[in-house]
Subunit: 243 residues, 2 copies
Amino acid sequence: MHFTSARRLDDSVLEREFTLGEIPGILWTPTSTTPAPLILLGHPPLGLRKMYPRLAERARRAAADGFAAATIELPGSGDRPRWAAAEQARADLRRAMEAGEPVGDGIIDALVLPLVEKSVPEWRAALDALLSLPEIGGPVGYSGGVISIGIRLAMVEARVSAAVLFAGSLVPAAMFAEARRVTIPLHVLLQWDDEGNDRQAALDLFDAFASKEKTLHANMGGHTGVPQFEGDAAARFFARHLR
Amino acid sequence: MHFTSARRLDDSVLEREFTLGEIPGILWTPTSTTPAPLILLGHPPLGLRKMYPRLAERARRAAADGFAAATIELPGSGDRPRWAAAEQARADLRRAMEAGEPVGDGIIDALVLPLVEKSVPEWRAALDALLSLPEIGGPVGYSGGVISIGIRLAMVEARVSAAVLFAGSLVPAAMFAEARRVTIPLHVLLQWDDEGNDRQAALDLFDAFASKEKTLHANMGGHTGVPQFEGDAAARFFARHLR
């Protein structure tokens, strides 16, 4: 892990860009709390640069609560190399949605499963590097982004002890079996009228998680309409579990 | 409205019992805030005496947030006269549940609809009396109890401007049509494994509300297992809408 830049967002948050091998990432640490528990900030595969404003806002909120936050670029996003199968799946998805056709399992699998396979080991490697820093302690939470990545990470990575998941993306059928093996506390967000998402599938997924503590927060509106107050609710969930 | 007793629960809450005609009730007011917004505390038809510890706890929490709280005895509960049809419906319900049989629409209607018909005008009369007190201002919220009473009250009573509803009791089919006419902000609690409640019916009911702001909080466990942290979440909902 090599830091490539450092700046203060304000008096209380240090923002550092880093690379982990080929993978760019960003780490935010609160100056007030050392070592700080860590929240991994998941995000959709749109590239860190595009996602930066929202990520920085989430990181500031985490820092205000005494948490460090970190994120890495997803494979195939930002400046990272594309791969043909994913590009094809993305084009197929766009075509199906524009035609108003149901998105077939084949498209969902081709789109999501390789992303899970490639990215989860990268998040774990990032976790190794981040937890070796003296300013980062534990425990670790995971928040947001592609829900299938969150499910796999929650299932395989024992250092992740609580997760906020957004039931807002297409979930391959195979991930339901993995969800049944997730036991950490979960806070699941659902947008009731999410245009690109199947509400019943999201409810079934929430039902599938084996976690003894899991809470579903469903709100009105579409994919990007998560109300402001849900940021507070997620912060309180992490405050309960990461302190 | 006649006050029949008054005592301080602690330095910051005044608890007064009252009668409104034949109906007993309790009013809690914070000493810090005058006039205070009001939360009407709904409860299951088990009698105020039995419900008192939980009601007092909710009232203390409301007072700590600067809200007054009030409740009245439901018709047919506590020392109030029973009526034969309700007793019969209650016996039929018990028999069906003990036999593991589905609870028929006829039983649900006989159990709930008269309770709604009788109690909602009483809550409105209590509201008239409470809002005439100098220590009570507006706005008014309704919280908990028999969800059908909350639905009817939210539909007909313009002074109730936000409600926390517990999707934990049997809902007559007729109430779904009323739910479609409810437009105030709602915070709906659902226990995912509520033994006496139909999860799909609860989700359908949440879907039916016409409110632009409605949030569903679903948690694991049975009817009485609502997690402690949901008390905080409900308090924040009222803080957003009643201040």
